[in-house]
Symmetry: D2
Subunit: 406 residues, 4 copies
């Protein structure tokens, strides 16, 4: 401990990363540069500046990354209809590569030789931060205090804080859960959730009302898509972050977006997580709807076949890997025709698609699909040959089996 | 038209298949054997017998196949978490191979050389019936009247019926939609649904109340799983068909299970369909929940990667193909450990998992997953090496890129 | 027969397509436009002009498409390392979409409403021609005489030719096999090959000597790659078609490139084919070699996972489909780093890679891979954590199993 | 260092594992049990016994595992047509899980709490040994001396040996390469091979003659398959190990089975390896041939699609994982019909299939495939409908595009 001169710390201003800040200064005797980003977690950032200054930090980076986050990270995963293990919308996973990118950019700018973060040694986030950092700056050193120090209990942490004059502000009504928030979602882990048979208590949830408490009247929205991304709501053009913030608000008010899952972490264990993703829950449903009329069948199926793999790459922290980028190239190419509108109804936890249309790219051809007379657009007799040839290999096999039996 | 002596007709007793019955007798001058099955469509079957007798049919087969349908067809697709195009629960698709099987069995028994069905030349059902029949009886002849005759409008059909004394009973309140029902679902196509921007009218739905009309109080169920199948509800053992019927009832009462989709047919066009699948909607959610604690991560991911392909095989009518059976072997093998209980809450269209447990097969290891001190069960330092080696290839590539730039 | 005014015929000048030409004129009473392409089949094209003129054809198109064929069709499939069913290099498959493209272009240019080809109703080629034509000109009419006429035996064909004054030139030494040739390969089907237990006779092969007859001295080549394509041989820059022609020549002289296969046709039956693909056999081996040092592991594995699907798309005739193009986008993107040289030795049927290098993109990092002291470039202790976390899920499962047993 | 009482060492009797033996005794002060297996590496095992005794080892296990190795490990991967990265026959990979299994069995039997092996921290073998051990005995401790000690150069190792009286027998003509051998293959790494542009020297190879030195006369073999495995050669029934030994001998004599590759290791770097796999090279070619006439097309394609994933699992050491076993269940099920004979010709490095037949399971139906008149077995007109419906989605899309342009 060591030849490190300068380290960039992903700093939230909270107790844990404040302890890390101090610990880095003391243990590594190095300059600490702090980086705090607004990715929509819903907390004020300026207090982080004051705190960092108190620790004598000279370089303090506070950035509003909300638009970049939604435009370059959230929207791309929704183009792929990404769900990890069939259910998880990747809310935490997708914020980490953005943080990794800025840790590296600031390190390059500041001539720092290391980065540091507050993720524990048991979770996925350490992997996501570090794979990103190594991919973007291969020689970077990573300091992951939770894997190094012996402050492995709440008591020891608090004692350390006290001993080093780090303010411990107990906010009233503070959550007992381990939480993470950004514009895409807020997550809860730990405490009572560690028993997967036990339902979460109602007080835990912060972004949405329960379906039971949601209004008795439905809310209807019209979402306009261009190349697979939402660009307007109810015909009002909006920036990516505005879209997501708006959907979060309306979704949350209607009890939309709660999930309660047991998922498989990349580091090998199962873990229980609860998530609120109101906007994301609306977006994934609506995106499938707009694709349903604008995407070729086999393109859609190819996307479906590869989606779980893509989602695992994102979940596991391989955002900056060449294989994720290669898949993205293909997915993005598929979205050229995904233009049009989707109407959704939000009601007490339900997201109900009530219409989809595309003035320019609809492949829904009523003249062919109709149950009425189609005036010859489709020749029903073609189906016989289609079936006969598709059946041929099975008929040959069945004939052989029959011959065998005799 | 032709050397056919005897044909087995999938006969519902309704107008369309009654016309087919008569048409077969007249056009093919052959004996018609009727086959009518109870697969939970919710209609009385005895009238079909009377009608067939009226046409002079001598061999009339009426069978209750509900248990076989759920046990051998519905449950297997839920073991795979099957969703076609991310959303469709395969309600119609999965009934067809069962009908195909019995058409062939009865043909073998009765020494018939042909089978016949009432599916049109535009849809998937003709494919599903015929691929099944050819796979099981390769030399069988198939008569698909809709592809042969010129009765291609409602008017011509009714004229034919009148002309041949086929009774046209207009039931009051008859649906204008093209419908299909079995224990897994009821479907609606045609009419106003042919405009994908238009929402279905509330009167269309038959099996479920709307979320808005559902009770204000939630219903909670405990589902017991053995090898991936539900064997009891609220600790009461039930047969497969009883399970599904019960879930349909409770689900429907709580506004669960409506879907409104544009899907890609195997014959090449997009089509709009609305579905009510109350029990299936509960089952797919609950099955993922029980798997989430009992299935190995990589087994689960392998299943997820192959699910869209499996679902397409079922959708396209390849139930009796060797590749579907090969995939099923693998899927079923994975379910040996899928034992335990899931608690679900049904509320106004929502299916909310509120607990999952397995006394015998839970891989959820609290001692490792915990955010508290784990007493050394997991060594956080292992994560460093894990990340370093997973990053190695990306670091080598990034170093090369940096060297190139210089 | 019918409202067709003008048809573009893929015309080789041989007996079969000459009969088709005449038959189209007689049966369809329409103008026939002929299209004859040089794709490296090794036959003079000018006789086709004379013959067409003899039939009164006014529009005669004769085009040299060799460069386009190799550059835009052959090279792309080798970027994907394409092998159908593990062995077939797609020689016939890849020429068809090029022909389809020109049939359509000429039809557009000449205001023709139909196209015609000489492929039979049993093979893959009809599918490849027609899927391509429909994808590029959806309203086009296709006339496939082999599926229409009753000239379904050699005798009837010859009788027709005689009757209509179509010259039957029996070339001396003409092959009894059904053959197809282009710059990528020559194929043989039919006759004795219809017994898969019987080896082909030595006289059948036309492009290569047998390994036994090949020179006792090996030939060595150095192939230079840019973005996955060969751009020079032995440091001599060459155009795509020149590359392939040269490799065919040298390969064939060294007994390289024969294959004898039973393959599964898209139309449902198995068929025996023998192929000579000297250049392609060298290219697929060498391309894997250059990728082995320039491609990221996971990118390479993703390509491998998708290759069989891509190859099936090409084999089945879906070249002009959106899903093939989507895959190609991804594959081509992966080739940006595939630059360097491969040394191959050709010897009596063997293609032996004896070296691969990349001055700009080699990811082979000797300092890390070495068995000697690496000076700390790789920390062997990292492997422990890597293994431990990768094993974690299996250890948890095994512990549970042990507990169960007790 | 530590509470370990007894360790089972995978002991070859060579210098490296002898040093490990002594080092374990000295550093861990624990009892060492040795395990030496004959898996066809072609070395006498009895000297290992004498050496172990010299070190005071009391429990010495020497086992002939050749039949189990081929029957339960080698044959299963050939049923899958396994090739890692398109070229590597998994020779080293497949032996490790067998060794892991016996290390664990002996540990259980001897009440040992640890196992140890001589694989370095840079390679795949450590992963394969340890993943296997952890999966089979989750609480086992693993001692990997190469990752722990500081004997990280040849000099230090020799010094240690000298210092501890460990005999250093320099066999004359000893190879400078790092080698591994078993019944499936022999491998070479290191030294000059670390330059991928440099061809290996002829003297390196040990199991095969060069194609140039192979006999001028070909050797022909007939291989009999039952359920995908070879059970007889030239009609002489043979056990699995005898089959492989025989094919190695005949293959090697004919210059068959050399490979020279750069592969991607699981631990993250690329490495150059040369391999001789004479029997395996024959088997993979012949197995595809027998499958080509006995396997359904879609079953074969499903196998092809999953093969790279299966091969990666085996390569990466996941033999004992549930996902590999799940895939194997499916693969083995597919082999029920893979019965028959393949004729292969071996000539100067070439393996040429000259015939394949199956009296009981051939799906090659000459009556349908024939180019001659098939007497109506196949209706060519069916192809039109087949193509039309397969083209439908592309036609609809093309029509839309045309309409857009106007």
């Amino acid at each position: 401990m060591s030849d490190i001169k300068k380290v960039v710390l992903a700093y939230s201003g909270g107790l844990d990363t404040s302890i890390i800040l101090k610990w880095l200064q003391d243990e590594y005797h190095c300059e600490v540069v702090t980086f705090t980003a607004d990715i929509g977690q819903g907390e004020e950032l300026e207090p982080a500046r004051a705190k960092a200054q108190k620790f004598g930090v000279k370089e303090i980076h506070i950035l509003d990354l909300r638009e970049e986050f939604v435009r370059d990270f959230v929207f791309p995963i929704f183009r792929a209809n990404s769900l990890y293990e069939g259910e998880y919308l990747l809310g935490t996973s997708i914020a980490r590569p953005l943080i990794a990118k800025y840790l590296v950019e600031i390190a390059n700018q500041s001539n720092a030789d290391a980065i540091s973060h507050g993720a524990t040694g048991k979770g996925n986030d350490q992997v996501r931060f570090e794979l990103g950092a190594y991919a973007l700056k291969p020689e970077v050193k990573v300091i992951a205090p939770w894997r190094e120090w012996d402050l492995n209990s709440r008591e020891k942490l608090l004692a350390y804080a006290e001993q080093h004059d780090i303010p411990i502000e107990r906010k009233k009504g503070e959550s007992p859960y381990s939480m993470d928030a950004n514009l895409l979602h807020i997550s809860y882990e730990g405490k009572g959730l560690e028993n997967p048979w036990q339902a979460p208590e109602e007080e835990m949830w912060r972004w949405s009302v329960s379906p039971e408490s949601a209004p008795d009247k439905a809310t209807t929205l019209e979402l306009t898509y261009e190349k697979g991304d939402i660009v307007a709501i109810d015909d009002k053009p909006m920036s990516p972050a505005t879209v997501l913030a708006y959907l979060n608000k309306v979704g949350g008010e209607n009890g939309v977006g709660r999930a309660d899952l047991v998922e498989n972490r990349y580091v090998g264990m199962k873990s229980r997580g609860c998530y609120e993703t109101p906007g994301g829950t609306i977006m994934i449903k609506a995106h499938r709807a707009i694709e349903s009329i604008t995407l070729d069948r086999e393109v859609a199926h190819l996307k479906d076949d590869l989606m779980p793999r893509y989602a695992s790459l994102v979940y596991n922290g391989y955002w900056w890997s060449p294989e994720r980028q290669m898949l993205q190239t293909m997915i993005d190419a598929s979205q050229a025709t995904v233009n049009g509108k989707v109407r959704v109804k939000l009601y007490k936890g339900n997201v109900i698609v009530t219409g989809r249309m595309s003035a320019t790219n609809s492949l829904f051809d009523t003249s062919i699909a109709t149950f009425e007379d189609d005036g010859g657009a489709y020749n029903q007799k073609d189906a016989e040959g289609f079936i006969k040839l598709n059946a041929l290999r099975m008929r040959i096999a069945a004939r052989l089996q029959q011959a065998q039996k005799k």
